[in-house]
Assembly symmetry: C2
Homo-oligomer: 455 residues x 2
């Protein structure tokens, strides 16, 4: 009988996270103070993050130990299974071998608890009473609520309005784990009020929600902020995915030619791909790593590399990123987790150095991909995950055309149990195709006022 999935024991949960910065030929550029345009020191982050996370944010140490308390909580759902997608291969008639790592088995339903748990842990250890955050589709907010509940920390979530309205049950899930949830922009913060005054019917965006959550944390001594993607320490925690996948692919006797993952701010993609990029760095391999983004929010494929704010209002330091501009509000696609204007500093540097690739898919194409996956493999993917599947299908078809049996690995980052409305909209033809035109992209870039980076 064919082996469908490769599993690991709890004792095989990695004991260290992998910090790719140690191996990068060009290190990410530093964050700048928006006033002075000078690099800012680690201490500037201390109103927002506990010391341990700031140290991880700026660390150049290659391996960072995972605390036992974190590994113990990981063991609720980790190691996650690695599957061979036999049925999808058959349906595509491809000679490619397709594998996927399934992160939807976590209680919150995605890869997000991989960083929510250590973030809550380090905050708790440093006596923080409350954590604020933003959430798009609700995956990150659920994950942080789950983690905060375990460590006995209050959790306050600003949820992007379009998702808050589309996905009421994500809110109940967060409430069940004890979190307070607000529709963003809200009248709770100065940032929210300002946005609402200028555009009362806005659908919201991750950038806006970040402004709100940061403002609340900055205001209170006992409160810190947590981000679910973009930052170095978040990407670091997510490498647990790829570190497990490396072990599992070895057990399967395979090495991927291509590693694929959806791309919002970078945590999903970095999580699975960095441990394979490490093999490129250390062993001179040429594993291709492809980030899959929405055509309605194509910062990697069509944005520019320059300094920009992480949030909409401009409260964060300036970060070096591929961006479409921090004031850009992406179309209200169902993959709320990917509606973010920019990419994290590490991923942006890797893309600039052509060490990774990117590809964009429109929102109709990704649902076609997701439905094919659900009908063949059985598991119903989150709309975010469908972006990666769309790239997988393109690569698998290319293998068929060229008669080449490549090995493809992708990150099935979450299940779609809270996204049935999206599938219903797709089946009833209610999904409007969103894809930025060349003119729209040019306009967005022309509007950018933040500092350029010399070539």
């Amino acid at each position: 009988m064919k082996v469908k999935k490769i599993i690991l024991n709890e004792s095989e949960i990695p004991t260290r996270w992998y910090n790719i910065i140690a191996d990068m030929p060009n290190k990410p550029l530093p964050p700048l103070h928006p006033g002075t345009l000078q690099p800012i020191g680690a201490e500037s982050f201390s109103p927002l993050f506990p010391q341990a996370l700031i140290e991880q944010e700026v660390s150049s140490q290659k391996w960072i130990d995972i605390p036992d308390e974190v590994r113990e909580m990981y063991s609720i759902w980790r190691p996650t299974p690695l599957y061979r997608a036999y049925e999808m291969e058959k349906a595509l008639g491809t000679p490619a071998k397709i594998f996927y790592k399934y992160e939807g088995v976590s209680p919150a339903g995605s890869h997000k608890p991989n960083t929510a748990v250590p973030q809550a842990f380090y905050n708790k250890k440093e006596g923080v009473k409350r954590i604020t955050t933003e959430t798009g589709a609700g995956q990150w907010g659920s994950a942080l609520s789950f983690a905060c509940n375990h460590f006995g920390i209050e959790c306050e979530v600003y949820m992007v309005k379009v998702s808050f309205d589309h996905k009421p049950y994500r809110k109940v899930m967060m409430n069940l784990w004890g979190a307070k949830v607000f529709s963003s922009p809200s009248t709770h913060t100065e940032a929210g009020k300002k946005i609402l005054a200028s555009d009362p019917t806005t659908s919201g965006s991750l950038g806006i929600a970040i402004s709100e959550a940061v403002e609340r944390a900055a205001m209170r001594d006992d409160t810190k902020y947590a981000l679910g993607s973009v930052l170095n320490h978040v990407l670091l925690h997510q490498t647990i995915i790829g570190l497990e996948a490396v072990q599992q692919m070895e057990k399967a006797g395979e090495l991927p030619d291509i590693v694929i993952a959806p791309f919002g701010g970078g945590s999903n993609f970095s999580g699975i791909s960095f441990p394979f990029l490490r093999m490129n760095f250390e062993q001179g391999l040429k594993i291709r790593c492809i980030a899959s983004e929405p055509a309605s929010c194509p910062k990697l494929t069509r944005g520019v590399f320059r300094y920009d704010f992480g949030d909409t209002v401009g409260m964060t330091p300036l970060l070096p990123m591929f961006t479409l501009g921090h004031t850009f509000v992406p179309a209200p696609i169902h993959a709320g987790g990917l509606r973010y204007h920019g990419a994290g500093a590490i991923v942006s540097q890797l893309l600039r150095d052509k060490l990774i690739e990117a590809r964009a898919h429109n929102n109709v194409e990704v649902f076609e991909a997701g439905v094919l996956f659900a009908k063949t493999e059985g598991i119903i993917p989150a709309p975010e995950a469908n972006h990666g599947i769309a790239t997988v299908i393109q690569e698998a078809k290319k293998c068929k055309e060229e008669g080449v049996a490549k090995t493809i690995l992708f990150n099935l980052c979450g299940h779609g149990h809270f996204d049935m409305k999206a599938y219903e909209d797709y089946f009833s033809g209610k999904i409007v195709k969103h894809e930025l035109s060349d003119k729209e992209v040019a306009n967005l870039i022309a509007k950018l006022e933040t500092p350029e980076i010399p070539a």
Copy 2:
């Protein structure tokens, strides 16, 4: 570091199902023809079921081989993990060791695919084009849709009205796997029309939905019917749960003193408990097995043992069962999967022979239990599963009072991702407590007209 879960490899998926009939001291009584009141032969089932399933239904062979095609499909989610509930133990301050088998990892989210897959497989093998069925909360309908989609069979689901209205996304899930879903009672069948004529605002029941699905299958040559619980072959397939759990408890170095599972028609409870009852039969152990039912539908704890119909209209043979009467429509509690008037023949005989126990919990109590579980263990349980958790909590508290460290195992039969409305209702105090009064039970039993069984 504590080991949180015991996992098995795909190669350890059992190769045979366990048929408890072989070991029962008193075999279940035969089904009767409602007209002649004579035992009916296996051939009477052939309009509804494929030959292979009828053979399993009447088999007294102790072990039945699982086809490779079924084991291969099982491997999408099986073996399922067995957890130690350390955090819930801590919260309860109990000396008891609590373990749970987690069946929510299946793509449909519950234990139901364990029987949906072999049922679809045997139907396919015998050339069946279409399968009809009923579903309560949607767990069974989703499972059968998932299985039929894989084997290329059409699937038609009659979903109990109260659940159809409460849980629209279960419908989308079934549609995603290609099934047609109707609110029951419907105007699609004579049975449905008859019920609607007498009670146009009925909330529906599993008994009514069964009448509809059976009628549709009986009408068409290329169509068969599938049931998600009650019947012997369904219980047989579910023993995969307990067979794995026996291996896992052995690996954990433990033997349960008590095995607990929710009870609707019997598939959940039988699935986990029969392989442990086998140890009682073969080794003279005294493992207690407790079935947890809703106080609004207490057939095991307060019903009578006699012949009754499996459906509301009276289309099935008469079956020996603990029942509250086939016309009883249970209160519209959120645990739709447990709203069934009777218990399967095997479980009824075991209860009559005092080889198992039963306990009832009201619908407020079970949500208290489920919320405690979600807050401690992290996983959000289905409302059906909460019934088992309520019994676990009672037993764990008893251990605390008595200072005894018993080992308790329960079946966490599904996740609550499609039940967030139920939790929302619970949090907002909208759940009305349902519990049958003595007078209501007496009235139900007085109404029974089907044949009694001599003591």
